[in-house]
């Protein structure tokens, strides 16, 4: 419970400073300090148990489905980090109280800081890797808020976004790595993971997993080449930098490596990746740091360099190196936090951080200068300060290295070189700021800061000294337990004394110190250090260019895919479907099956040819509307012939009639349209579309061929067998329509009826002025209703009606039925309209189409419902055969009545549609 409380206090208590700020800045800071002090006390309360080597664990179930539980552990490593986070956090809260100006919203600052603190504590106390990851991303988010705290500064916003992009992105890489690790081990619980060293190192996924986890750690700990976000994060208020870049944020990456050290370290991949990156970062950043004119810029690069040093130590994979790494974490946290705070004081009291202008401040702030000097000496690794001890251990380990073989001298040489640079930039920090002449037009006259602003620095500096002089009495127990939990086994022999006699590492230190002094003064006086201006780091350029590239790519893809043109979309869609459809052909090979598709007889051949030709002609002459219509008609007729060929006369009849009706409909539309369509698309586009169409047609043909040449069963046998016993009719198609599929037909006529009503509702009242001349400036035919046509149509009418009744009655056994009969009647009536005009016909033919539709649907529905009264389901067919005197045998099935409903509906809907459409633009008849 204590562990949860330690994390929850800052997380939940984060709201307090925001509330307390209405009672003043002190109240806000006090609330923040209180919220920090309580968990610190709780933590210290556990000190004896932890120092005795115990591990405190606590857990609750949270999201079992994905293997995530709320489990925490407090061991040596976690204790060390939690102590740093809370201890330095408390000092930063005190410091920030005096640092922030009246204009800054203090409450918000402390809220963000506490949130960050809670997230950081979560990382170091998590006992579950997923939980750790969650807190990891929370630190990225809350540091984003902290870095962007001065949101009116453009560089603060950019720095915040860059930090978030890099560390958040790294966090997702870490997520992938952790998922892999969990997959290898089978659990995300640290105790399980830490026991599975052999399993993990033997897994084929080890390398990708390691790379991903290291990506997360390197981005967070600002390792080369991801280091560039850290200098940009310096636009944050200095307390934030002091906190984030000394003890917390950037140490999270190092912490992760320390946490997983027992299971991940020791392999060659680990050695080369971790120590290689660490070495490059160490030297490179130390070098860059010397040339930074910005006080915080120098400290930022120094931080990067020191993190590289710690990485390198963990990478070496020897127990003593790991101890040195942990030790350096402690030392770096103390001296770097104090240096940042000192830099903040200087900035605060003089108004500048530019070392080219800040000179000779010793006279103005001797106290601060002394503190800064001690901390800087520690950073440089001067004996008697804590930095010296861990650096000495590092040099020792660098010499002990075996993996590099004949190149053994590289690491010690690089270490010494980095030492030289470190001394040089530390010296610059002191010499350039506090001595080296007089200040150059500073915005303010520098003076000592308020008393309490110096207290945190003093505490940290005293710690540097105590650890540096009496390591065995101060830091040793803490270091032992922390290093013990990193190693997960027995500690190596090591001696924390300052003096080990005249050894090679000592020589390296001497070289570094003297070399550093030489380099600095050479740079300052010989190469005019202040005049050297560095170009922005390539990493940052890469980041900016990457963003620009991504945006550019995005715009290009948008332009290519999403230009808003339906034609383009369709072309793309068809192309993709073609490709997808080509895949099975490519995979399975295009081959025809064993079954012969049968020979084509001559008649079918001609019909087929006509079909193809008329379809092609329709496409070619589709701009000539009338011509196109003629070809469409031919196509339709050929299709109905094909139905005849396959013994479906009903379908053929329906097809012919539908063809007639729809051609009439289209002709009515032609009336209002220009004769030809203009060309709107370019030749290339037409070629593209033609290509797509041909390919799609060939694809479909190939598919049909492949299917038809394979053995198959048809379902027609079933219907042929069932037609007479099941539906009482020998015309199978009609039986299917009105009996087996009666429900479908019922639905269809309703759809038809609704469509007709829809057309009526939409254009019933529409009147379009018909032009007096056609578009070619020719007058319409003088006689719109020729006599011959009128007479012929009137003779035709009774004949057609007779045929339709005949078709209706015989429909159950022979080709015909309600649908066809209805169409025949409709065509016959329409002919009257065409031949004699609307007014003439309407005067004689008083049909209420809407009512007829209703009656038709009702009859059909009632037939269906009637079967309920006989205890059968809806639309069950009953049939009997009656013998009528004149007509002969009449098979009367209940389906006949149903057919009547279909007939009425079809007639009425067809009429309604055509008459409604035909009336558009019809001039008043004379």
């Amino acid at each position: 419970m204590t562990l949860l409380l330690i994390i929850l206090f800052p997380l939940l208590g984060a709201a307090l400073p925001a509330v307390a700020v209405r009672w003043g800045r002190n109240a806000s800071a006090g609330a923040a300090a209180g919220v920090t002090a309580i968990p610190l006390a709780l933590l210290l309360f556990e000190t004896p148990r932890v120092l005795a080597g115990g591990t405190i664990e606590a857990g609750w179930r949270w999201v079992p489905a994905i293997g995530l539980d709320l489990t925490f552990r407090l061991d040596g490593l976690g204790f060390l980090f939690a102590l740093l986070i809370l201890g330095i956090g408390l000092l930063v809260i005190l410091y920030a109280r005096y640092y922030l100006s009246q204009r800054d919203p203090v409450g918000r600052f402390y809220v963000f800081l506490l949130l960050f603190m809670g997230a950081m504590l979560g990382i170091v106390l998590s006992d579950n890797l997923l939980l750790l990851l969650v807190f990891w991303e929370l630190t990225s988010l809350s540091s984003f808020l902290l870095i962007g705290y001065w949101k009116h500064h453009a560089d603060a916003r950019q720095g915040a976004r860059m930090a978030l992009a890099i560390t958040g992105g790294g966090g997702l890489a870490l997520l992938a790595g952790v998922l892999l690790l969990g997959h290898i081990v089978g659990s995300f619980e640290l105790p399980v993971v830490l026991r599975s060293r052999e399993l993990i190192q033997g897994s084929p996924l080890y390398l990708p997993m390691l790379t991903l986890i290291l990506l997360g750690a390197f981005t967070k700990s600002a390792q080369f080449p991801f280091h560039f976000w850290l200098p940009h994060a310096m636009s944050a208020p200095t307390p934030v930098s002091a906190y984030l870049h000394s003890a917390t944020m950037v140490k999270a990456g190092v912490f992760l490596l320390a946490r997983l050290y027992p299971v991940l370290s020791g392999s060659d991949a680990w050695f080369y990746l971790v120590s290689g990156t660490g070495l490059v970062t160490l030297v490179f950043a130390a070098y860059v740091a010397m040339f930074k004119h910005d006080l915080k810029g120098l400290l930022a690069y120094s931080t990067i360099s020191h993190l590289g040093l710690i990485m390198l130590l963990f990478g070496l994979s020897t127990p003593l190196a790991a101890v040195a790494g942990v030790f350096h974490i402690i030392n770096h946290a103390t001296f770097k936090a104090s240096l940042f705070m000192a830099a903040g004081i200087i900035d605060h009291e003089s108004g500048s951080r530019d070392m080219r202008r800040l000179n000779g401040l010793w006279k103005y702030m001797p106290h601060t200068a002394t503190l800064a000097m001690v901390a800087a000496a520690s950073m440089a690794g001067v004996p008697l300060f804590n930095g010296f001890l861990s650096k000495e251990m590092f040099f020792t380990e660098a010499l002990e290295l075996h993996q590099t073989g004949t190149l053994w001298w590289i690491v010690p040489a690089a270490a010494t070189l980095a030492g030289v640079f470190a001394v040089a930039y530390s010296l610059r920090f002191i010499h350039d700021v506090f001595f080296n002449g007089e200040p150059v037009d500073l915005p303010r006259t520098p003076h000592e800061p308020p008393r309490w602003m110096k207290v945190p620095v003093e505490i940290l500096v005293v710690l540097c000294l105590l650890v540096g002089i009496f390591p065995a009495y101060t830091v040793a127990p803490l270091l032992n337990v922390a290093a013990g939990s990193v190693l997960g086994g027995p500690l190596p022999e090591f001696d924390l004394a300052i003096w080990h006699g005249f050894t090679f590492p000592l020589l390296m230190s001497v070289v570094a110190l003297s070399g550093g002094v030489l380099v600095y003064f050479a740079l300052q006086y010989r190469f005019n250090l202040h005049m050297i201006v560095q170009s922005p780091s390539p990493g940052r350029r890469f980041y900016n260019r990457g963003l620009a590239w991504l945006t550019g790519l995005s715009e290009i893809v948008t332009g290519g895919l999403q230009n808003g043109s339906l034609q383009r979309y369709l072309a793309l869609l068809v192309t993709v479907i073609l490709l997808a459809g080509a895949f099975p052909f490519w995979q399975l090979g295009w081959y025809s099956g064993s079954r012969s598709p049968g020979m084509m007889d001559g008649g079918s051949g001609v019909a087929w040819l006509l079909l193809v030709v008329s379809a092609a002609c329709t496409v070619i002459w589709h701009r000539q509307r009338l011509l196109a219509l003629v070809f469409v008609g031919v196509t339709g007729l050929m299709v109905s012939l094909i139905f005849v060929r396959f013994s479906a006369p009903d379908l053929a009849l329906t097809q012919i009639l539908v063809e007639v009706v729809s051609i009439i409909l289209l002709l009515l539309a032609l009336y209002l349209l220009p004769q030809t369509t203009p060309r709107e698309s370019s030749v290339t586009r037409r070629m593209r579309d033609a290509g797509l169409a041909v390919a799609a047609g060939l694809g479909a043909a190939g598919l049909v061929w492949a299917v038809l040449t394979r053995p198959q069963d048809t379902i027609s046998g079933f219907f042929l067998e069932q037609s007479v016993p099941g539906g009482g009719g020998s015309n199978v198609v009609n039986v299917i329509l009105v009996d087996f599929r009666g429900f479908d037909t019922f639905g269809e006529i309703i759809v038809l009826a609704i469509a007709a009503l829809g057309i009526y509702a939409m254009i019933g009242g529409l009147r379009v002025e018909r032009p007096a001349l056609d578009p070619a400036r020719r007058p319409w035919a003088a006689d719109s209703h020729p006599l011959l046509l009128r007479v012929a149509s009137r003779i035709l009418l009774p004949l057609a009606l007779m045929v339709s009744v005949y078709l209706l009655l015989r429909g159950h056994n022979e080709p015909g039925g309600g649908f066809i009969a209805g169409l025949v009647t409709a065509v016959a009536l329409i002919t009257q309209y065409l031949a004699s005009g609307i007014a003439w016909t309407e005067a004689r033919l008083r049909l209420d189409h809407q009512r007829m539709i209703g009656i038709g649907v009702l009859i059909a529905a009632l037939t269906g419902v009637a079967s309920w009264f006989f205890g059968a389901p809806f639309l069950t067919s009953a049939f009997a055969h009656w013998h009528l005197p004149v007509l002969g045998e009449l098979p009367l099935a209940s389906a006949m009545i149903f057919d009547l409903g279909v007939y009425l509906t079809v007639v009425a809907t067809t009429m309604l549609m055509l008459v409604t459409l035909g009336k558009i633009g019809a001039r008043e008849e004379v």
Partner: protein, 482 residues
């Protein structure tokens, strides 16, 4: 097909569907006689219909899967859970839309009746147990959506969007039907369980008709889901439609689409898993890539969310393609969470809009924190969750899917998904940035109704609460797919 005997179907299992159908017809009829002043009655009845359907669904729930209508309709736990979420999401959609529609003179019965018919379509999709039923539900939904997009008849963009949607959608429906007909041809059955059993015992996998069937079915499904490269309609429709319709399209139908994937691919074509897995992998990767990359360049937030949908669909496909129970439940969790987040995202646009002003540009969100810190915070939660940042529910959803992918031994796919999530996080956080760091261009106070504000807050807080405690929902999803 062996005999022609008819059985009386068990109508009770489809009672929620029958109820929604009857109510939709009834509301259509009543709405005809309402004056504009009393139109709110239509709205209230629609909401009551959803509540009633929810009560029926929960009340009729039984643990065992039951078939009716000759095996073409199934009532099971997955269906019931998904349906309840569909009602819930639709009810919130209606609530958000009321004020928005009223201000724009679009507050007509059609919106709600079409919405209810759409819900009916989704319910049929969710409970379908035959190819035909699935298709029926899908078309009912699609046709309602086409009409809804064109609801604002005098808007050029809306009608154009509806036209595109209809033309492309019909083509895709045709493809789906073509594919389904091939399966019918091979197996002789439309029943999902029968087809599934037939395909499972099939010896070789070199049946060319089945290979084509899979291709066309997946093409049809991919279009309806809006997966790349069948996504072209999504941005145009999302952008062109009135936001209330975009909200409708972007939320509940996604849940139904997941059900369709499960019924069709997993239950029906499970035996051909190897074939469709490859296609889904391809679709998922391209969707995540194109969706996330194009979203960056968008200045219109509706378009941005459209591309974000595409990317999220990629993630959904990841879960389904694993072919494991774990993957399915992760995908289900993902899509429900997505629907709730999208509800908030589009809802926020409507909250900030007012008469004569559509707050649908990203610039319109500038400085929202100064105008309304509370709703900026709600939007922050939503965006963070969509980006999948811990500890948001979006993160849990992504994590669950990724874990399922890793467990199915497709590590590389998980890594690819993570990379695109990183890119995706960028544009969501851009909204956060403009809300908190930029100066407001639009300074008018928020003009939204009280219930809208309450619902929006509840929506944001629900996302937050799910982030803190996702277990209940994950457990529900796992149980639903048992």
């Amino acid at each position: 097909m062996s005999s022609m005997t008819f059985e009386m179907p068990n109508f009770a299992l489809a009672l929620p569907e029958i109820f929604v159908l009857s109510m939709a017809c009834l509301i259509l009829l009543i709405d005809l006689f309402l004056s504009d002043r009393n139109r709110v009655l239509t709205y209230l009845m629609s909401q009551a219909t959803l509540v009633g359907a929810a009560i029926l669904t929960v009340g009729l729930h039984s643990g065992e899967p039951q078939l009716t209508f000759g095996g073409s309709f199934i009532s099971d736990t997955m269906g019931d859970v998904l349906k309840v979420f569909i009602y819930l999401v639709t009810a919130v959609v209606f609530l958000y839309s009321r004020e928005y529609l009223r201000v724009r003179q679009l507050f007509t019965g059609e919106y709600f009746v079409l919405g209810l018919f759409g819900v009916l379509g989704m319910m049929v999709m969710v409970s379908a147990h035959s190819f035909l039923t699935i298709y029926l539900g899908l078309e009912l939904l699609s046709l309602s959506l086409y009409a809804m997009v064109a609801l604002q008849r005098d808007s050029v963009t809306a009608t154009e969007a509806a036209m595109k949607y209809f033309v492309l959608g019909s083509l895709a429906s045709g493809m789906l039907l073509y594919g389904l007909s091939m399966f019918y041809g091979v197996t002789g059955s439309l029943d999902i369980a029968e087809v599934g059993a037939y395909l499972k015992q099939l010896p070789g996998d070199n049946n060319i008709v089945l290979a084509f069937g899979v291709v066309f079915v997946v093409v049809g499904l991919a279009f309806k889901l809006g997966a790349v490269p069948f996504h072209m309609w999504v941005p145009d429709v999302y952008h062109g439609a009135p936001t209330s319709v975009t909200l409708y399209i972007g939320t509940a139908p996604k849940i139904a689409a997941f059900a369709m994937l499960m019924r069709l691919l997993v239950e029906g074509l499970g035996g051909l898993h190897v074939q469709w897995q490859d296609m889904l992998i391809l679709l998922a990767i391209v969707s995540m890539a194109v969706g996330n990359i194009i979203a960056i360049a968008q200045g219109n937030i509706k378009r941005m969310l459209a591309y974000s949908t595409i990317a999220h669909v990629g993630f959904l496909l990841l879960g389904v393609l694993t072919g494991t129970a774990n993957g399915y439940s992760s995908a289900m969790f993902y899509i429900i969470v997505y629907a709730i987040m999208a509800l908030g995202g589009f809802g926020m646009i409507m909250l900030l809009s007012r008469a004569g002003f559509e707050s649908d540009r990203i610039d319109d969100f500038k400085g929202l924190n100064d105008r309304s810190p509370w709703f900026a915070f709600i939007m922050l939660i939503l965006m963070i969750s969509m980006a999948g940042v811990p500890v948001s529910v979006g993160f849990w959803a992504k994590l669950a899917v990724l874990q399922a992918v890793v467990r199915a031994d497709m590590t590389w796919l998980a890594v690819v998904a993570v990379i695109f999530s990183v890119i995706g996080a960028y544009y969501y956080l851009r909204i956060v940035k403009v809300m908190y760091f930029d100066k407001a261009e639009e300074t008018a106070p928020l003009a939204s109704s009280f219930d809208m504000r309450v619902a929006m807050s509840a929506n944001g807080l629900a996302v937050f609460a799910l982030g803190v405690y996702p277990s209940a929902l994950t457990a529900l999803c796992a149980a639903a797919l048992k």
